[in-house]
Structure formats: structure tokens, C-alpha cells
């Protein structure tokens, strides 16, 4: 009656905290610019 679900080990690239913050800040700014340049009502 046991249901086995196979799992896959996947690697993630871990970054130092300061680098993580830099990346997050970049993504926030980048996303903001994308919103600014997209037309209203678009996806």
C-alpha cells in the first residue's frame, strides 16, 4: 500500500548574501522597466 514517488536531486547555484541582494535589486529594477515599457492591459 506504499506509494513511492521518485525524487531527483537537482543542484541550485547558491550565491553569497550580498550577491543575492545585488541580483534581486537588479531584477526589481529590470522588472520595473519592463512594466514601464509594456502597453497598458498587456500580459
Amino acid at each position: 500500500c506504499i506509494v513511492n514517488i521518485p525524487l531527483t536531486r537537482v543542484t541550485i547555484m547558491r550565491k553569497t548574501h550580498s550577491e543575492k541582494n545585488m541580483l534581486n535589486n537588479f531584477l526589481k529594477e529590470h522588472a520595473y522597466r519592463l512594466y514601464q515599457t509594456s502597453s497598458p492591459g498587456s500580459n
Partner: protein, 321 residues
Amino acid sequence: IATHPLRNFQDMVYVGNITIGTPPQEFQVVFDTGSSDLWVPSILCTSPNCSSHVMFRHNESSTYRPIRQIFSIEYGRGRMKGVVGRDTVRIGDLVSTDQPFGLSVEQSGFEGMPFDGVLGLNYPNLSFTGGIPIFDNLKNQGAISEPVFAFYLSNKPEGSVVMFGGVDKSYYQGALNWVPLIQPGDWRVRMNRISMEGQIVACYGGCEALVDTGESSIIGPRRLVNKILRFLGAKPRGSEHYVSCSAVNTLPSIDFTINGINYPVPAQAYTIKDSSGICYINLEADPESTSTETWIVGVVFLRQYFSVYDRGNDRIGLAQA
């Protein structure tokens, strides 16, 4: 153009496939004992990183039912906001009908993560969506014979497994040691001490250990993590600490004593070699300090020890994997 070299090393999580909806839409999720909600990215998501994941198309599922409710979850490494819906969720042969789950509308911190969403296996009281968690739903619907699940996390890319409804003894050796939860409602147990070479280095007089399959590292209070790093002779590099890879074989194990039984984690398990040949110590300091000393024992620990989560008796079983 200014370039800045990023120093990365590979950490790891374990993912499995589930499907949601009719016809089924497949997602890769982390099976996480540290949280209680199931969520996946949705086509409603406005965050740029959602598009790099599989997104749930609610309008293409005949069994999808919306719930007019919003929620947000903050994890150690990311956060998401979403809406709650219900649909049929399949995990292998298990089918959970009318399962509440989150459809992310905004998410951050999951950039580049090799999974789409999270499937929480913790108790219902920790749910942010307010819906019944999938394991409780499966239990109530009579889909599983016993209210237990268990994890075997292999060092190899394949071969790991989460099992529902019972324990397959071929995945562990020796005795399965049961540890009662501090209180039903969280996979948290009392730990006696953390020692190295017979010397207590943390958890003097006892502390708490949260057994978390969704966390890759071992996380503890900053002061005590620093003490262990000093004990190991690790050198700081940015916010991480490293040792020479040639010294790894000489480093002691970190011994976690839980319910009077010693669970050593050898140096080969708590170090990660990066692409440039440096070995980082996979211990992290918890930025949030709490009055109770709490350690989160994640994949680093759970690759050594097969773990059983017994909802029927509110206890965790540990055995040599």
C-alpha cells in the same frame, strides 16, 4: 559594460513530479516538511521569473474551482503571493480531489531555481492558504493506508524517494528510532546537544531541531554557527566559510544527539566543493534570532538519515539511510 564575477557553488534540493487539473498539467515541486501549502506558478503571475517555470493554466482545467482568497508565503530563500484555487492533484497513483492550492501571482527569490513550486507536508495549522494540506486531504479521503510518509535522499542524482502510506524498510539499515514531536503541529523535536570530537559545541542543555526536507543546509543561531566554523578552522570568504578540500578528510563529524541517540554528519556531507576547488562549509547562520535555540536540519542531515513522519503518533523516525 561593467562585469562582476559571481562566485557560485552548487547546493541541492530534491524535486518530484505532480500533476494538477484535468487534463493533468505537470509540475516539478519540492516536497517540503517545513511548510504546509501546495503552490505553483500560474498564468496570472506578473513576476518576470514565473515565465521560466511551468505555469498552471486554470482556464484549461475542467475541474478547477476558484476560491476568492489571496495569501502570501515567505520562505527562507523566497516569497510569493497568490490566489487560492481547488483542483485535482495527483502524486503518483495518489489522487487528491478538490485540493486547495496556491496559484502564484507574484514571486521573488526563486530565480533560476530548478523547480516550479512547493508541496508542503507540514501540519495544517501552519498553512498560509488556510486550505487543508494535501497529506491531510489524502488521509481524509482514505487514499493512504497509514498516516505516515518517509524520505530517502540519495547522494546520487537519481534514486531518492518520498513514500506515502508506509515505510519501505529496504531504504534504511539498523533500528528506526522514534522521536516524539515537541508538540503536534510542526516537525520539530527536542535535541540534546551538538558535539564535535566529544566536545559540546552548541545546544548546551538542549535545544530544538526542525526537520526540514525543503532546506538544503543546516541552519542555526549565528553565534553558535560561528563557533563551529572556528572549531573547523574555516576561513571566511564573503558570507560563506571554506576549508581546503585536501583537509576535508581530516575534519571531524558534527554529532547531533536527538532523544539520546547520536547522529553524526561527516565532513564529506557538510562540505560542498565549488567549481574552483574550494570546499565550503554547508552551515548557515539564521538571520532571525529567537529566544529558543532552534536548528533547522535539512538535506545535509537527511541524506545521511532516512526520515519518517508519523502523523498518527506525532513523531519522527530516524535511521541510517
